[in-house]
């Protein structure tokens, strides 16, 4: 940016008009792109994306599954945008995981401690509203807005999730019966921790949201040649 600015400044004296014209054309082109109307396909894709996000509320985003010789059927932890749920009858796996974690001094996972789960659904609601707005207003700029917010939010959420895992794995009670090296539970993949094998993978809600993002990109793609 600064380089092009300098370049622009150096040329300004000799032949300013064509240069300014080039950039201006680019900006105008970009502006024209942002003002492109959305065709029906794009609008329907945006509505479908909103629908996918609504649907994603009913499925977990992430699942952590822990297996050990004594836990053949595994202990499961399901992460939703608005809560953490244990597997097993009545969600009892959460209490069991907390119970096991106390031996290594890990803080128990309490739903109330997950502040982000209180505002995350609100953000999803906002994204849904913006998607519908884009579908109604039918302008490319709306698609870019919602795409930007959606991507940022997605990357932020994964970052926040990783940070949570880091904190839980590193703030271990020094008085714990079992002393272990601080660790970060795996975000994605499979890993052996003591007698447990941990599997951590995205679930249906995450996939639905990835498809929703894809739909937003496709919405832009299908209307890229539309004339105002």
């Amino acid at each position: 940016m600064s380089e092009s600015h300098a370049h622009q400044g150096a040329d300004a004296g000799e032949n300013p008009a064509p240069q300014r014209g080039k950039i201006d054309t680019l900006l105008r082109k970009q502006r024209a792109f942002l003002l492109r109307p959305l065709n029906l396909t794009s609008r329907l894709l945006l509505v479908a994306a909103a629908g996918l996000i609504v649907a994603s509320f009913f499925f977990p985003l992430w699942k952590m599954h822990l297996f050990a010789p004594q836990y053949e059927e595994g202990l499961a932890l399901y992460i939703y945008s608005y809560e953490i749920q244990g597997g097993g009858i009545g969600g009892s796996d959460l209490a069991e995981i907390n119970n096991l974690n106390h031996y290594i001094g890990m803080k128990p996972l309490h739903k109330a401690d997950f502040f982000e789960m209180q505002w995350m659904p609100f953000v999803f609601g906002l994204i849904i509203l913006l998607l519908l707005r884009a579908a109604v207003f039918g302008e490319m700029s709306n698609v870019v807005d919602v795409f930007t917010l959606f991507s940022y939010f997605g990357v932020f959420s994964i970052g926040a999730f990783y940070y949570r895992l880091y904190v839980y794995g590193h703030q271990l009670d020094p008085m714990a019966p079992m002393k272990i090296e601080p660790f970060t539970p795996l975000l994605i993949g499979s890993k052996q921790i003591a007698n447990f094998t941990q599997h951590s993978y995205p679930q249906m809600a995450a996939y639905l949201q990835i498809v929703a993002v894809l739909f937003v990109v496709l919405a832009a793609w299908f209307s890229r040649h539309e004339k105002a």
Binding site: G88, I89, G90, S92, A95, E96, N99, Y103, P177
Partner: protein
Amino acid sequence: MKNHIIKTMFLAALCTVIVLLAPGCGQKKSASATKGLNEAERASMALASFVAPGEKDDYYLFYSGGHSGQVFVAGLPSMRHISTIPVFTPYPGTGYGFDEESKEMLGDFTWGDVHHPALSQTDSLHDGRWLFVNDTANNRVARIDLRDFKTRQILGPIPNASGTHASSFITENTEYLFLATRFSTPLPRERAADPKNYAEEFSGMITAVKVEPKTGEMSVAWQILMPPINFDLCSTGKGPSSGYAFFTSYNTEMAGDVLEVNASQLDRDLGAVVDWKAAAEAVAAGKAEMMNGVPVLDPNKVPGILHYIAIGKSPHGIDTDPSGKWVVASGKLQPTTTVYDIEKIKAAIAKKDYDGDFRGVPILKYDSIVEGEVPVGLGPLHTQYDDKGNAYTSLFIDSNITKWKLPPWTDEQKKDLTKAVLDKMPVHFSVGHLVIGGSDTKKPDGKWLVAMNKLSKGRHISVGPSQPESSQLIDISGDKMKMVAEAYTEPEPHFAQIIAVKNLNPIEVYPKDENKDPNAVWDASETGVTREGNTVTAKVLAIRSRFIPDRIDAKVGDELIIHITNVEQIGDMIHGFAINDHDMNVVLDPGETKTIKVKLTKSGVYPFYCTNFCSALHQEMQGYLVVQPGTAPVAAKAN
């Protein structure tokens, strides 16, 4: 090395010589060969009962535990003992009889004599809800909930009754359980009379226990006053015999002493045919007289509710077939078993086709109600049925099981009923009861038969003079019975029940949400110790691997009440709670709360600890009960 080989060869040669010279030893070694089993047969038997590690059995087998006062649960076809359900006897293994709830159920008794388990029924089919068992010794009946395999109610001692052996037998929709007395006594029970005047002074009793359809709660409904004959077993009707209950009895002689001789004089004894629906109506119509708070019907005053049939000398079992049409009973000293036709019994009742009476109650004419006498062998006791119209009778004296064809018989079979006998299987030894899954329902499961033998001598590795009981698993799915496996139980199963695993769905954890105990604590913040006068109450939480709190303070003279909750919600995470030197051990299943009471009589520090191995730090799961010497103000308060 060479030396070693020579030594070994020498020893082998020596052994060969010894074996050849000692035929006794040789025989003992080939004991299995004398049973005529080749390798292929052994392999086929082994496979039939084999349940590989990690695999599960197909059926539950609920054994009555006899005078152990318990119920044993085994799996079929493996015959492995899986668990023991304590019923009438304290059982430290599960903490039964130590906490207040089970102590209250047991009352002042420390044992019972469990004879006949009955699975609850709906429309003459096992519904998998409850198992009822009787206590012959103390006239009680208990309900085990099959949701958690726990004893949930003990009813009794039942008034006006003594030695309820002919129980608990259940009606087709679990309306009633019947309990009839093996022993007769003077009534009311507190009256002492001379056994010399047995026939005049003593009475027997048939009790109908009502079962609340939703909760299974049992209550004494009504009774029928019976003459002092010894009721032995019972069977209820279904289909054409719906509304009837059949009881065998011995001692028609009404002997009050030396029963072995004096009760064995007549050629035939009596079976009681009770029209229980008519009896219930008579009670509702106010025809009963109250005795000890129970409406009691006198069959002489309410004709129609009771008729007698004649059965061979000293009968034991009586069993209605799956169709409800045939009732089979036999004298246990006879070589035949008798098949009665319920249609003929009903016709005889309607036509008053009597052959005299017993104390004013008519005896139905034997020849009018009998379909045939099947020569099954010596000492017939009990009969069970498969799903193909066959009957299986246990023969105590012959020590075998005889398979025979139920009627209708062919003309050839009618002429010679030995032709209705299809197969015989020796059992070891002296079989008492036998059981086929659902034999008392309208749809038996014709896969397995379990013979419960009274003598096991010489079959098992020696365990000294006290002997276990032997059970044998027999495959009855083919034309010929096949012996498959053998197992031993503690004393002493009498009857048993079999139900397919798929028909039960027990819980493995008490869900937190269902724990309604007001003293349950689920969080450390709710725990604590409080004092009120001389009562110290502790609310304790058990979790891997600690008790919260792990210190309880009290004084001599206090009554210590401890409410303990196991807050685990994962299967098999069971905690115990034992207090040293205080004869106290309770065991808490996941999600369970129990209350114990301990009178503190000695000062000192008494460790308490988890008795049921729970976790890697189980040994660390302990605490201290600190008992200070009593002080004057405390003692004064107690007064």
